[in-house]
Symmetry: C2
Subunit: 348 residues, 2 copies
């Protein structure tokens, strides 16, 4: 059926998004997947993943072709470059290491062979790679999956894997046609197993801004107030006072800064996209509760800066951003990344 | 020395502010104090207060004239009206009972004898009493004390008791002179013991707006970010992005809505009023940590509404207010004051 030869794919980040991606890639038979794990490496290396998936059913002890606990070092390990590297880690540019540093051992700065696929949220995430790897094709993956890893190696996917793949603009490359071909090829490899809704998208910016209506607004608002997406709809004045104004600022920023028209219904759609009575915790709320760093720079900082550059008034997101920054600092201090003067007693 | 006959004073609220107030009133010999306690009643009734005070030294087992665990009911208990009722509870109008309901048994709505003293923070706190008790003189007490109750009945005062007493405007009463005389009398009774810095203030609104520069800004910002007043000065961008803009909005609101000129130095003064290395938690942060309700309506909501009514742009405080409201709702739900639809599983 397909003319694609089997591709080597390195997936970095085996959480709930990366693991389902690895599963889809492997299921289609067109990819050999190496999956890089961190916190769940030992569990998965010993026993494989324990997966409950609405797309794939129940899988016990599943593993991709290769499981590792480090990013491969092509030079030191004398490895061929991968055809694709898929990044599905969190993306927290304000906390080292950056994703560029993370991927470097497997992706030389002069690379022209490997296609990089960023299945990560937020805006301008490709920009650091355009600097560090100017000739690398970078694809955008916007995932609308509902999945979680309740314990290490246990993946629960309770909402269909929907993945929009497109090509980030890159003025260092000669044609966009070639990059779009690579995006289409990746879609074919990913969708081949037939259990996922992975499609090519010609408008990466539209996909990203649309998801930001949720991720720049509901996500930090839930994290800051400590309320999940059900409770935020019930809490006194939270929708009218916080969520709607923030979302409208994103809609305006999308229009003014990127020419992206999101449509009138997007605000209500995103408010209601999580069923109320599921009381789901968006990623930042889950991260705050676990004492983890939050992805606020790409999800909130970048759209805020783009919107403000385009002259959009964004008073709600401005305050949310500064609060998120303070919350991030709190985690930095808790993790020992910043030092503060010692505590004194009154009069000392 | 004094021409004042001994006065009966009912102090409602025996936390760290009310207890030091009771102590000062009793110490001067011009007042007989009945103190109404709630959570610490049993401890104090059995063993008295254990007080460490920079003004009064160490006192073991101290009690005022009378300690009670209910607000006296004048009718049912056949009691004479008090000369003064001093309210030093938290003031949370959005959570029942309101302070008007709390004080009612000891203060008939037709009262003209008893003077009410509100040692509570925020704006417009006298307004409900102007409705419910139109002929009652209401005094304003702005306390700048540093004190805490680390465990029930244990009071630690580590910063001088400074109390500004003035009269709230009340158009139902014939003269302001008489109400100011009562304020001066209260100051004399309170200050008589000589261990406190209690003074008459002719400008209640100035005192209240000035304290709001701290209480409408630093207080909720610390509560929302989870950072104390030391850490908020160290955290990335929190002063420039949150604290200063919020404080400048209050300074402008004070000017436009009340004609109160706070002076250029008030912002820096309030940022630095708590010594950094003490890492003090303002009241709202302490309350959030304990799962208590926060006093956000009088401290943040009222100045916001007054400022906006006067045409002041208050984008920072608007967002902080809505977040505080959501945080309050969270506590309401945790305390069972609001019911939410039951949790479902996906597909149910």
């Amino acid at each position: 059926m397909s003319n694609i030869k089997k591709k080597s794919v390195l997936v970095i980040g085996g959480g709930s998004v990366g693991t389902i991606a690895a599963l889809n890639l492997q299921a289609g038979g067109l990819a050999s997947v190496t999956l890089v794990l961190r916190s769940n490496y030992n569990v998965v290396n010993d026993n494989g993943f324990d997966i409950e998936s609405c797309d794939h059913g129940i899988l016990k002890g599943w593993k991709p072709s290769v499981v590792r606990n480090t990013v491969p070092n092509l030079v030191e390990e004398n490895l061929e470059p991968y055809d694709y590297i898929l990044l599905s880690t969190k993306n927290i540019p304000d906390i080292p290491p950056t994703i560029v540093d993370l991927v470097k051992p497997a992706l030389p700065s002069t690379n022209t062979h490997t296609t990089l696929v960023l299945i990560q949220n937020g805006l301008n995430i490709e920009k650091p790679f355009l600097q560090s790897h100017p000739k690398t094709v970078v694809l955008s993956g916007v995932s609308l999956i509902g999945s979680a890893e309740p314990s290490p190696g246990k993946i629960v996917q309770d909402d269909r894997d929907r993945l929009l793949i497109g090509a980030f603009a890159n003025s260092n490359l000669d044609t966009t046609a070639a990059t779009e071909d690579l995006a289409r090829e990746f879609v074919e490899i990913y969708a081949k197993g037939g259990k996922t809704d992975c499609v090519f998208s010609p408008n990466v910016l539209h996909d990203r801004w649309r998801k930001l209506v949720y991720n720049a607004c509901l996500n930090p608002i839930c994290a800051i107030t400590g309320l999940d997406t059900g409770r935020i709809r019930l809490a006194d004045g939270a929708l009218a006072g916080l969520v709607r104004p923030a979302m409208l600022e994103i809609v305006e920023a999308a229009k003014k800064s990127a020419g992206v028209q999101l449509g009138d219904d997007v605000v209500d759609f995103m408010i209601e996209v999580d069923e109320l009575q599921l009381y789901l915790s968006p990623s930042m709320l889950a991260d705050v509760r676990k004492g983890n760093f939050i992805e606020f720079e790409n999800l909130l900082g970048e759209p805020l800066r783009e919107g403000q550059k385009a002259g959009v008034a964004m008073p709600t997101l401005q305050v949310l951003y500064n609060i998120a920054k303070a919350v991030q600092w709190r985690t930095k201090e808790q993790r020992g990344l910043v030092q503060i003067p010692p505590k004194k007693k009154k009069g000392e």
